[in-house]
């Protein structure tokens, strides 16, 4: 029976240990003057007695208690927490996850659709706010992210060596990948390089903004869902999708892609790039900063000549389609477990509104002014970083508290101070990024299905999601023919996809009215 009980035990254990798992965790019944949070963590959990934590409490005039959860386990911890009786007041969640959707539908979280407008700092961009909703129902302020982040990063020094220009079309990309593979761009006399670097993508959702989806959109396929003949169809049921996948399959079969593209960990994505193995990465544009950091460690003199970033590419006939992002990453949902009355809710939202003000967001995503940073020309410049106490503040900002920010500065958005290293290559990268984003937004293919969550997907997603995701990968690996890939897509439709398509069409048209 052990297996049957695994899940039940896990849920029960979480219910019991909810308090202990928390950050401060003295008692389950935090008093009325305390707000409990749960959010992601990228390092070690900040000390509640720490300088930054105290500064935030002082600013809010309230105590806060945060359950910090390592990013890698976040969704699992959310699902387990939702099943416990210790849901924090404010929870950073992906509003589209089935577990949250069900909990929200059952009334575990406050529906803020009619209320959020009263708190000006929480609204943000109305379109993005709608995107973060469940079928138009808004459950909390979203955490802002740049609307367009997709880019291509190329080894600039290799490009020079093989004598090619920056790519404009997918054909150019193919040529560069071919030259990087065959022309020994690192000049070590060995045939040990490849062009494109693709990692094993975590999760099984189809439209995950991974390199494959980016290339689908470049070839003109919908971004997740798109209109064809007056109806919304999924990305993979269009001729452009097959066009794009033929292109990718060719690259993979000809060895222009890293051979371990099915097992390379995303955390090691940069390694082949900086270790002279591969020369192209298709990902979010902020990765360029990481790459610059890594090259700077190798050689502080020449790192500026190593990375070339370009925006979305046109397809062979010159038409350009760019992949935008949803503009947000998770929302701050308010649970009803402790916040029971409208008055309590109003009190809490006022506090969140205060936290979402410029002063609050600066605390969360810059730190304490005059202590770990100063403002110069509207930018944050780090100071006193040699002092371990100040370094602690800086770490608490970067690894933890920025994850509570709704308008924190990330890349090109947010209301806090942008933070740019003073060195020229970084400044050049950011300046170019802003231009690129503005340019690519003109050709952005938006996903009309973002605000809707079809009920069949919630019910059957667990079985349906992997079907096409896995089939595409198998097709690219040469294990399935195009006919077999089409058969898998049909299997998706037959298993419930037909209903999902119907519901998406209905829900989106209802939303438009």
């Amino acid at each position: 029976m052990a297996g049957a009980l695994t899940l039940a035990t896990a849920l029960l254990a979480s219910a019991c240990s909810g308090t202990g798992g928390g950050g401060g965790g003295e008692s389950n019944q935090a008093d009325a003057n305390t707000i409990t949070f749960m959010t992601k963590l990228f390092g070690t959990a900040p000390n509640p007695q720490g300088e930054l934590h105290q500064a935030i409490e002082k600013f809010l005039g309230k105590k806060i208690k945060v359950t910090w959860v390592p990013n890698a386990d976040y969704q699992e911890k959310v699902n387990v927490t939702l099943a416990s009786d210790n849901i924090p007041d404010v929870m950073v969640v992906n509003p589209k996850s089935p577990a949250f959707g069900k909990a929200a539908a059952a009334g575990a979280f406050w529906d803020l659709t009619d209320k959020i407008k009263k708190y000006p700092n929480l609204v943000g961009d109305e379109k993005v706010l709608l995107n973060s909703s469940i079928n138009g129902k808004i459950y909390g302020p979203y955490r802002t992210r740049p609307l367009l982040r997709s880019a291509v990063m190329i080894r600039a020094d290799w490009l020079k060596k093989v004598g090619l220009e920056a790519p404009k079309t997918t054909d150019d990309l193919y040529k560069i990948a071919e030259a990087f593979t065959k022309k020994d761009p690192d000049g070590n006399g060995k045939d040990d390089t490849y062009g494109l670097i693709i990692p094993k993508w975590p999760g099984v959702e189809f439209a995950a903004s991974n390199p494959f989806n980016v290339i689908d959109v470049w070839f003109g396929a919908p971004n997740n869902w798109g209109e064809r003949d007056g109806k919304l169809v999924p990305e993979f049921d269009t001729p452009e999708f097959f066009e794009a996948n033929r292109f990718m399959k060719k690259m993979i079969q000809e060895g222009l892609v890293n051979p371990d593209w099915n097992t390379l960990d995303t955390a090691k994505w940069n390694d082949p790039f900086v270790q002279n193995k591969g020369g192209i990465i298709i990902d979010v544009d902020v990765r360029a900063t990481q790459l610059l950091d890594l090259f700077k460690e190798q050689d502080p003199q020449t790192y500026g000549d190593k990375v070339l970033t370009v925006g979305n590419l046109s397809r062979p006939d010159g038409k350009k389609f760019s992949l935008p992002f949803s503009g947000y990453n998770d929302i701050l949902a308010v649970s009803k477990q402790r916040v029971k009355t409208e008055a309590q809710l109003d009190e809490l939202l006022k506090t969140l509104d205060k936290l979402a003000s410029k002063e609050g967001q600066v605390l969360l995503s810059n730190g304490i002014e005059g202590r770990n940073f100063k403002v110069e020309n509207g930018e944050a410049v780090l100071i006193n970083q040699d002092d371990p106490k100040v370094k602690q503040v800086q770490d608490d900002v970067d690894k933890a508290f920025i994850q509570l920010g709704t308008q924190a500065s990330t890349g090109t958005t947010g209301i806090a101070y942008p933070r740019v290293p003073p060195e020229a290559p970084y400044r050049k990268d950011l300046a170019e990024r802003k231009e690129r984003v503005a340019e690519d937004l003109k050709t952005a293919v938006f996903d009309p299905s973002l605000p809707v969550v079809p009920p069949t997907l919630v019910a059957k997603g667990a079985t349906l999601n992997p079907i096409v995701t896995d089939a595409r990968v198998k097709y690219l690996a040469g294990q399935l023919t195009e006919e077999q890939l089409k058969a898998e897509i049909k299997r998706w439709y037959d298993g419930g996809g037909t209903q999902i398509a119907q519901e998406i069409n209905d829900l989106v048209s209802k939303l438009g009215q």
């Binding site: 029976m1 009980l5 695994t6 387990v80 009334g107 099915n262 097992t263 667990a462 079985t463």
Partner: protein
């Protein structure tokens, strides 16, 4: 552990014979019963109390609504499971791996123990024994990382050697579904064989040397001794190990398989345990996952009763 303490007092009571009533027996062996309590408490708290949660397999469970508020849907999730696209694949994968486990993993420690038993140099015997059970102390995470390091198509050391030796196309052992089961069985052999060998060695140590002497007197060679003395002597141990294993046949090592799964081999890799985790914890479909787990649990119980019955039919002592 504590359940092992339970039988002696009961037996002792029977031997004692002069019709003691229950209260007297209880009082007489009170200290033994007291020793039993922590064990019973463990099973009650961690194995029986959570069973209350099994009811969510028959509900459309939403945590916020709780056990009482969630809608009762009866066998809907089981119908979904048996008619859905996953069941055949999960059943096939699980049974196939179980079959490979019986064929390769189960006999391996017996063979190793017999071989070690034949070694006459004690130092060598001891050191080999110690060396092969070290992997038992490594976690699956480490075993999986080692596998990736050795077999990855890009930088795998062993994969590189095999490629140099055999030539031809480079094979992506860790991503190809065809290689998945071989890798899993190899990992299991490497990690578990040494440890289980200890149990058989202990059984072998208990075989009376007089039996061997008698066999030698009758002119039995090494193989004859093995066949007619050694194996019959450890047969009860083998049977008990077999019955215990049959109960766990459907419990594939979750961590091991989860760590070795990727998009390409998922079709081959998914077994009931990984599926329950993925659907329940990752996707938040609590009820469906519990239904799958419950089915697996029931099947496991049937298997252990079945093999126990079979063992008795074949004239062996069963477990119960």
């Amino acid at each position: 552990m504590a359940t092992d303490l339970a039988p002696p007092p009961v037996k002792a009571a029977k031997v004692a014979g002069h019709k003691p009533n229950r209260a007297q027996t209880l009082w007489r062996y009170r200290w033994l019963y007291l020793l039993l309590i922590p064990g019973l408490a463990y099973f009650f708290v961690f194995k029986y109390v959570p069973m209350r949660g099994l009811q969510i397999a028959f509900q459309d469970f939403v945590p916020f609504l709780g056990y009482n508020g969630s809608e009762w849907v009866g066998f809907k999730h089981f119908v979904d499971l048996f008619t859905g696209p996953d069941f055949n694949r999960l059943m096939y994968n699980t049974l196939f791996l179980a079959f490979l486990n019986i064929i390769f993993v189960f006999p391996a420690p017996i063979i190793v123990a017999l071989m070690l038993n034949e070694l006459r140099i004690n130092v060598l015997k001891r050191s080999v024994q110690s060396l092969i059970y070290i992997p038992h102390f490594l976690s699956w995470t480490i075993v999986a990382s080692l596998t990736y390091i050795l077999f990855s198509v890009d930088y795998g050391v062993l994969a590189g050697w095999i490629h140099e030796f055999l030539g031809g196309q480079k094979i992506d052992y860790v991503a190809q579904p065809d290689w998945f089961r071989s890798i899993i069985i190899l990992q299991t052999l490497w990690k578990t064989t040494g440890w289980t060998t200890i149990i058989y060695l202990a059984a072998l140590a208990g075989v009376s040397p007089e039996l061997y002497e008698a066999a030698r007197m009758d002119g039995a060679g090494r193989w004859r001794q093995l066949w007619h003395v050694t194996l019959p002597a450890i047969r009860p141990t083998i049977v008990v190990m077999a019955i215990l294993m049959s109960g766990n046949l459907l419990d594939m090592s979750f961590e091991q398989i989860w760590l070795m799964t990727n998009n390409l081999n998922r079709g081959t890799a998914d077994v009931f345990d990984t599926f329950v985790y993925y659907v329940g914890i990752n996707q938040g479909a609590y009820s469906y996952a519990t239904a799958v787990g419950l089915f697996k649990g029931v099947a496991g119980v049937l298997l252990i009763f079945g093999s126990n019955w079979l063992a008795k039919r074949l004239g062996q002592r069963g477990l119960f």
